[in-house]
Symmetry: C2
């Protein structure tokens, strides 16, 4: 195992100490990372400064080609599996399964410049830093680009990582269709990114993903790095409350069956359930449709969605039970009927403690403020965590705004995230190397 050029072995240092010293001295190049973020943002760039680069479109092909070329220039071997997932590999001194770092290059239709891209390009920059320093890792290192994280063209979201983790079968995934009727498999063929390797066949030593927070917590607390300990569990309901359309002028209050009054009280109940379990719980009614939706008709039907999240399954169970009881408590005295459909149930994910520790220590070593944080949004890491030790690194994004062309994370913040990614991966690699000797 060699050491990078930045390392200098002082008298009395062991080889391991020297490698550790070298490891913490490696520095990613903030301007180079920023330059590549801006360069690739032009592939699908929108007038408002965002990116529209839906998965498996020709724009996606362009950015994939760009990524493959850059990785090959670093001496990496780029392989693609049958879900189009790209793995750019730099060999280690052993042939243990690779430590993988990355995210996704697809975007929402009006996505920002950082969601996904930062994780892939930050990983590429981290890998390039190792290469340029001549730093040799114990495990092979791979930069991964997961296909269709966003789910904007093909549902569900995180289709490839879910397939990788065995949540979806490869055949089912390949048969997903976009609105034009094109299957996922056909779209892969069209852009030339359907590989031979069965998705999920390769084993990983670990998976690290750098991502913008997509929420306001780090910014609000002026914290530079979030060490992501897991992903919230999530329950989604569709609720339809039915009362009776009635004339607003001619129908006295006591003779009404006002579906919107019931819905409003459920909105309040969801708020109270989440508040009672704050700060980790969240609960939201995000969409609502009122019928007949006329100013002078008491609404006879209201449809809405309910989104409940908590990182602990048992507390999420409790929140869900209270929610179901409250819906009944609200609607029964108002003479309203209720139909409920549970449309999504995602168990909480707890990331690997060694991986999270690597992130925490890497951030501290780099001199950045860091706090543990739970991801409220889904990520490829939430699926990959089922089959490999995983953690994520969050950096702040302005106002918590994401899935929006106004999404913004500064050059300095991006650089901090990539630096922590680099050091966390190297730290984890050292741990693997040390363990191999025991």
């Amino acid at each position: 195992m060699g050491s990078g050029p930045a390392a200098s072995r002082r008298p009395g240092m062991t080889a391991a100490e020297c490698q550790t010293n070298s490891m913490t001295n490696l520095r990613i190049d903030p301007e180079r990372l920023w330059g590549e973020l801006m360069e690739t943002a032009a592939i699908g760039g929108t007038a408002k400064g965002g990116i529209c680069r839906l998965t498996l479109t020709d724009l996606d092909r362009q950015v994939r080609d760009w990524f493959a070329a850059r990785a090959e220039k670093l001496g990496c071997t780029v392989s693609v599996d049958d879900m189009g997932v790209m793995y750019a590999r730099r060999a280690g001194t052993s042939d243990v399964p690779p430590i993988v770092m990355g995210s996704h290059l697809d975007t929402q239709p009006t996505g920002g410049k950082f969601d996904g891209a930062l994780g892939v390009l930050g990983a590429l920059e981290a890998l390039r830093t190792m290469v340029e320093a001549g730093y040799e890792t114990y495990a092979p290192i791979e930069v991964v680009n997961w296909t269709n994280e966003e789910g904007s063209r093909f549902t569900p979201a995180m289709l490839a990582s879910g397939t990788f983790a065995g949540v979806f079968t490869r055949d089912w995934a390949a048969a997903r269709r976009d609105r034009a009727g094109v299957t996922f498999g056909e779209a892969l063929e069209t852009i030339g990114y359907r590989g031979a390797e069965p998705c999920g066949a390769r084993r990983l030593s670990a998976h690290f993903e750098l991502h913008i927070e997509q929420g306001p917590i780090l910014e609000a607390e002026n914290i530079e790095i979030g060490a992501v300990t897991g992903v919230q569990g999530m329950r989604w309901y569709e609720v339809t409350i039915t009362g009776q359309d009635a004339h607003t002028g001619a129908t006295p209050m006591r003779l009404r069956k006002n579906a919107l009054l019931g819905a409003a009280r459920v909105v309040e109940a969801v708020e109270q359930i989440a508040q009672a379990n704050a700060p980790l719980a969240v609960g939201t009614v995000g969409s609502m449709e009122v019928k007949p939706n006329s100013p002078n008709v008491v609404p006879g039907e209201v449809f809405f969605t309910v989104d409940l999240r908590h990182p602990e399954a048992s507390l999420l169970d409790t929140m869900e039970q209270i929610f179901l009881r409250e819906v009944d408590t609200v609607c029964r005295p108002l003479g309203l009927d209720v139909r409920l459909a549970k449309i999504w149930d995602q168990p909480p994910v707890r990331f690997d403690s060694d991986c999270v520790d690597a992130v925490r220590h890497a951030a501290a070593e780099a001199g950045y403020s860091v706090r543990d944080i739970v991801s409220g949004a889904g990520h490829d890491s939430a699926y990959v965590a089922r089959v490999a030790p995983t953690a994520m690194i969050f950096v702040p994004c302005r106002g918590g705004i994401s899935h929006n062309e106004a999404e913004f994370t500064s050059q300095e913040q991006c650089a901090m995230g990539a630096q922590v990614l680099l050091q966390a991966v190297l730290r984890y690699d050292r741990m693997l190397a040390d363990r191999s000797k025991q």
Copy 2:
């Protein structure tokens, strides 16, 4: 002044007593009225049993021609003013201004068989009963068909009666356009119903309108006749609450600016304001639009309408003030901005006490259960009341359902309404005759 054939003068009766006796013995023909309701319902009849007969269409022309023919057959003179309002006149023994009874023959796009039609055809049946009995009135009696009560083709609703009352100018009214760009005046010309008489030129001794309740009160209390004492005052607001779009998973409760939570609390506040002033007050949020309306986005903007009504202007003022204060009280602590626009302010209408008394007594004489009631909906009578003594008669409609093809009032209920209309008009006519002698 003669007396009808149904009257018989007992020894010792005065002529006035005999006329009164005759008056209360006149009986409308329930089957004939029902037959004409069903006959005209076929003009624009829908598959689901309703009527689609928008104002000034060829279907409206057909029912107008039918009405004119029936009225002329009874010996009436039919005249039309420059808003297309039809007046079918039977002379009285004096030339005082006429007592007018009627309503409207236009319907909503998916209207029922009774809204409007009952008031015109019930009046026609009442007039026919007088004619056939040879009963002579002191005042001329007219049956009126007001143009464009519904406002479905040309806004605003009650355009002709509003013009009659001087609320709208004749030129402004004639220039109203439908969605195809046709003006009200052009549409009148097209169907041949633009008369020469300036709308509003004629004076009325009184105006009586029979109508279905369009609400559930009479049915719920098992009352046969509503003596309508007035029309509620009404205030309409458009409210836009603005917060901040945010990810439902990644945004903690305390960092949210949830516009839908604010809107839900205003829905509750409107309910409480109305409940506190029940039974006469009503308050409703009837329409609501949520943005961006996605299950996993905390709503950043909600638009909704608020409809507040009360028959007393002072109490309506109070309700409105509390509403405005509550909006502020709700939104300020949630960090939400509010835009409010008052889009309609209709003062309460109090009907003429002599006219309402005539209805109450007529119902009692006929042996029907009766209660005072305030109209929650607007009617031509609400405008006509500004320029002539006015009252309305309500009959129940099943489930309070109206503006709907399922609207239903039974043959017996229609007949009771027409009978009360007849007796109320004759009672008012007697009062005019008696006063003329004083």
